[in-house]
Amino acid sequence: MSVIPSDPVIVTVPDIRESAARERREKLSAFLRNWQGVLGLVLVMMFFISAIFAPWLAPYEPNTMDIPSRLSPPVLDHIAGTDQLGRDTFSRLLYGGRVALKIAAIGVSVSLAIGLLLGMIAGLGPRWLDNLLLLLFDAVRAFPTIILALATVALTGPSMEMVLAIVIITSIPQYARVTRTATMSLRNTEFIQAERSLGASTIRILWHHILPNVIGPLLILAAMDVPVVVSVEAGLSFLGLGVLPPTASWGTILNEGYLVIRNAPWMVVAAGIPLILTTLGFTFLGEALRDIFDPRMGKGR
């Protein structure tokens, strides 16, 4: 007869799985009990759906002019009124969401990827490289976003690509800093030391051990970064430094509305609402996720 205790093995494996599943269920129910998180999720879904399906949801073409019914107040045919050229503001806001989504998606994912890479290099690399990167991050952060945008626009002129570049450059340091701190605290732990003594390559350690540990906080940070990115786009476009008319973006619609604020005040009101709902949604969602998955992170802010 074998003396290997087979029973405990059979018992423990499903036990671990079950406890992981239970933990997942607990986190889900904790999230569902958090009304701000649920509201945030709903608003975020609304943002994605309205932006992706804008061509099907919009009652009018965003750039079709209808001069006779220009500057119409909100009526049944135009629920958010029309602008100076008779274009339907509601349809334009839907299309504006596409610009916001595009900038947020590309801006956040690219800056997260670059920040992750630079943070790992700073955390694992030699001391001088770490110091140099930190100095660079500080230098980038020294430019208030709008000031950096103004300096860049002075040279390149306004465009959507310029807005993307600004958003990416200003977002990289925060992702890099979080990654760097996590990498540094992990690199001297026993399991990494053990892995290294077994001959694992740096790439393998980064991919299998550091990445899974740092990706959670980074994604929460990304959710909190979306409102910033979306407001930067809207703000720059409002000032004429970003997306240019006739492209519909929340910023350009605000700009056009601001010019007619005395005659058609509903336009700046309507253009602000999707912006607020989106920033609120991502903020609520990000904070709920942070409270559930990483309670320590909340203390610092």
Binding site: I147, L241, G272, I276, K299
Partner: protein, 314 residues
């Protein structure tokens, strides 16, 4: 303390140097004759010749950079293309409007946000706490330029209570103050939320410490404990937040100045960008970033001075 001060100061100087380098190389990146690029298409040939001589454009690039950095370090930021006045003088004329806006905005936000945070921390999980929480997330989520636009719509266009444009008649303090109300409201609003949350979070942590329990055992009043002891410690992370968030404050002030046509530093940079007046853009950006770095440095030093643990850690 001296070692910390030297290290922190050295780091800031290095960052300023890097900022100057970035600003300088931005101008080098654009194709074309540097003098024409720097002065813009509207410059006269004489001005271009004078600029080329003054900037030593025949010298190698690294020498040009050293001359530019040296001039900037001694307070010479070049000359305005159109009026040929000193950029330093122009900036000094305007920066007062920006500083006034920032101080007033921060001032009212602190007067409201800090007590609100204390109140929420002292009565956790009551309706006061919940309303403060919703209020802070709400004010943080609304971008400041939208607050500016909506404030103009409500208070200047509809109610006609307050002026929307300009900084008021020079010399007329009351007029200047009424012109300051709306921009300061717009810039400060999100800070009420930031400060209330930050103070609430650190206050909750401090109120659980043993020395607060001792103070309570000694029979001190709640008011004395909160404002005399707990707030002193709880304010530390808030100072860091104000320092770190100063860049956002400058951004909000720039937006407000442009929207309210207030003749401050932000409006100056914006107008110069539109007119392609590069020396003023360069100088203005340099002053704005240096101002930010100065505030961060100041808040770091303030914390190190109050809290000895920070001093030793760096």
């Amino acid at each position: 303390m001296i070692a910390y001060l030297t290290k922190r100061l050295g780091l800031s100087v290095a960052v300023v140097f890097l900022v100057v380098l970035i600003l300088f190389s931005l101008l080098q990146l654009i194709p074309g004759d540097p003098a024409t690029v720097a002065l813009g298409p509207r410059a006269t040939p004489e001005a271009i010749a004078r600029y080329a001589e003054k900037m030593h454009l025949d010298a190698p690039v690294w020498q040009q950079f050293l001359i530019y950095a040296g001039n900037a370090a001694t307070g010479d930021l070049g000359i305005d293309v159109f009026t040929e006045r000193s950029v330093t003088t122009i900036i000094l004329e305007r920066i007062g409007f920006t500083l006034a806006l920032i101080f007033v905005a921060m001032g009212w936000a602190m007067l409201l946000g800090i007590p609100l945070g204390c109140l929420a921390a002292v009565k956790p999980n009551t309706w006061v706490d919940r309303i403060t929480g919703i209020l802070s997330v709400g004010t943080i989520a609304v971008p400041s330029f939208l607050v500016s636009i909506w404030a103009i719509l409500i208070f200047a266009v509809n109610l006609r209570w307050l002026p929307a444009i300009g900084a008021g008649e020079p010399g007329d303090t009351a007029d200047q103050l009424t012109h300051l109300i709306l921009p300061a409201f717009a810039v400060g609003l999100s800070w009420v939320g930031y400060l209330a949350r930050m103070v609430r979070a650190s206050m909750l942590e401090v109120m659980g410490e043993t020395y607060i329990r001792s103070a309570r055992a000694f029979g001190l009043t709640q008011r004395r404990i909160v404002f005399g002891y707990a707030l002193r410690v709880a304010i530390l992370p808030t100072i860091t937040l104000i320092g770190m968030g100063f860049g956002g404050l400058i951004s909000a002030a720039v937006f407000a100045e442009i929207i309210f046509a207030r003749p401050g530093l932000g409006k100056l940079i914006f107008d110069s960008v539109m007119a392609r007046n590069f020396p003023v853009v360069q100088g203005g950006v340099l002053v704005a970033t240096t101002l930010y770095l100065g505030v961060v440095l100041f808040s770091d030093l303030l914390i190190a001075w109050i809290d000895p643990r920070v001093r030793d850690s760096l």
